[in-house]
């Protein structure tokens, strides 16, 4: 098994873990004073859609054959990893100040960082392989 396959498996496993993370480490599930769900609810609904896309793109790395397509898919996985980190930030959607979602966000940030690094490594590896083939 080459490095590309190993890194693709890592990206897929991390994406699936991020997808189910709010079930493993739940966010706070109370309401605000007005009866609406809190910010963390909306942040993690957005996280779910983003990580769902990350799962599909990570899985596509096993199907794609050309270097350009692999490069594009891995680059988008890298960007999605960054978005996963950004969404819970207060200047994006945000989470509540002292709830259980702080713990979830801690692990979500670690997972997002690993996903972004993995995507970047796959992109660099593919680019290197492509350059080697051209020259």
């Amino acid at each position: 098994m080459n490095y590309y396959k190993i890194l693709s498996w890592v990206a897929l496993i991390i994406s699936i873990t991020l997808l189910i993370l709010p079930r493993i480490i739940p966010i706070c599930n109370g309401h605000t004073g007005s009866g609406a769900p809190m910010l963390c609810h909306y942040a993690y609904q957005a996280e779910f859609i983003i990580t769902l896309l990350a799962v599909i793109l990570s899985a596509s790395l096993f199907v794609l054959r050309t270097a350009e397509a692999r490069l594009l898919a891995s680059f988008v996985v890298f960007l999605l990893g960054i978005i996963v980190i950004i969404v819970p930030q207060p200047w994006a959607i945000g989470i509540c100040e002292n709830g259980a979602c702080l713990k979830t966000t801690f692990f979500e940030t670690i997972g997002g960082s690993i996903l972004a690094i993995t995507g970047l490594l796959i992109a660099l590896l593919t680019h290197k392989t492509q350059s080697g083939e051209v020259t």
């Binding site: 109370g30 009866g35 769900p37 899985a59």
Partner: protein, 61 residues
């Protein structure tokens, strides 16, 4: 697996994910107890309290 088959499968997984998101299976259920909600003393809280107040006023009159 061919790319076309993968795209069909990816769309099915995406649709399944949206259904899961809609049904709320991706998260812990929201609390139903009003006492556990984040409220300040000056906010009216859940709308059912307003309904209870209205019922009380009607019963008094």
């Amino acid at each position: 697996m061919t790319l076309n088959r993968f795209l069909v499968l990816a769309f099915l997984i995406f649709s399944l994910g949206i259904v899961i998101l809609y049904s709320g299976l991706n998260r812990a259920p929201l609390r139903q107890m009003e006492q556990m909600d984040h409220k300040t003393p000056h906010t009216p809280g859940h709308s059912s309290l307003l309904i209870n107040d209205a019922v009380n006023i009607l019963q008094r009159s």
